[in-house]
Symmetry: C2
Subunit: 288 residues, 2 copies
Amino acid sequence: MIRKLAIIGVGLIGGSMARALREEGVVQEIVGCGRSKPNLERAVELGVIDHYTHDIGEAVRGADLIVLAVPLGAMEATFRAMQDHLADDAVITDVGSVKGSVVEDAVKVFGEAPAFLVPGHPIAGTERSGVEASFPELFRNRRVILTPLDNTDPQALQKVEQAWRHCGADLSYMAVAHHDEVLAATSHLPHMLAYSLVDSLARMKENDEIFRYAAGGFRDFTRIASSNPVMWRDICLANREALGGMLKRFADELHGMADALEKDDAEGLLEIFERAKAARDRYIDGVE
Amino acid sequence: MIRKLAIIGVGLIGGSMARALREEGVVQEIVGCGRSKPNLERAVELGVIDHYTHDIGEAVRGADLIVLAVPLGAMEATFRAMQDHLADDAVITDVGSVKGSVVEDAVKVFGEAPAFLVPGHPIAGTERSGVEASFPELFRNRRVILTPLDNTDPQALQKVEQAWRHCGADLSYMAVAHHDEVLAATSHLPHMLAYSLVDSLARMKENDEIFRYAAGGFRDFTRIASSNPVMWRDICLANREALGGMLKRFADELHGMADALEKDDAEGLLEIFERAKAARDRYIDGVE
């Protein structure tokens, strides 16, 4: 049983977690914390949280589970604001898409990675945001990656594991750096590509016409470019080392593709396309 | 009324067009032509075509409307095979995703662009293929771009327009080269990116794990990499001039993004992401 759950950032992820735990009846009190008063008031109206405050210190006071669902760029300040107000049994987890930067931010504030911090990342979401978009089933049968450190308190880990299990999530475990490499490949790089492509088309002279003739494939391909720009700026910067390398390697591959086109290399292109189709059909279609 | 409709290539597009025209009751006889006997037999069973032949010359004999729904790489050979068997009132249209190469192929065979050729391109499709995937509503409210030439016979154009209207399509008109530029941007480049990305991830050491942690955004982003590789090899090569240039420019943009990451250029990234989101939400979401 969670005595007091503090959700810092009551948006899609934080709100959905609160809803799921409430539905399971495993939490006594839920406090929401954030900057937008209308969003927090709506969260109370919707029954997602019991009450709210704009003050992080007040939110975490007496809380035994604290969920940080703020943009990565706000993590350090959030740690700092709560640092002197934590209960003795407080456990902190987060839902950030990059784990290395969260651990670094915690080290900056606490001097070392705190034993009560369990970095986490639910692989779930939609391109919508805000508490209105939240729903209790968001994490059901979705993966949540936890990246505990060597010094993480086993009881803290267990508390976070239990909370995610109540949300219906499948737990996975990774080292921090490995998580950031894997997510750079499957999530952060695709977002960079989608944003770049849409932006470069939007800057073309006849962009009106170009978008008018876009088909369903283009809509799917660019859906992630409708994601929250601030959140994604923070993610890309927080994971800039892994992501920057991949971005450059991929740019070089595209130059290779352009060369293949120029040389009329039908076999080379077909090989790439066939390998890609086989990989996608094998790995992805099974879960669609 | 269409006396005899010859569908060369009875797949998703050719099959759906036959079904739509049949449903409208505007065609007396439909002959299918292709190489795969099981596919053609299935097309007869499904009532998509009345009968079939593997011989293009036989298929077009007496046909007043001929639809070329073969891969772009097969266009020239297809024109050649039908050239001596066309009826006096034969009208040819095609459904290729590149229009310049189709016109060039026709010129190679007929000496000049034939007045009875109306190049066309329906902006419709799914990543599935084959006659099994075809359905009569595929083109309903979808755009079909026609790129008639200066010497195109107005009556031939009218015949093709009528057929598409019976399929429920919205007709648009473009110059050949302009079509190929617009489609390179919205369709051919995204396919190249999706194929390249999936292939480069599949070639990574831990590709199993990488795909396992891919989320919904990645599935949408890479859906087009499940498209037919032969068809797309042909499209990319057929449009290599417009596409190659765009590919290189885009690769350079990605290097610019990598630089922005390295320099921690938060403002620059946010600007790109915000512009992209605004463009996508404005142009695309309206039609989702």
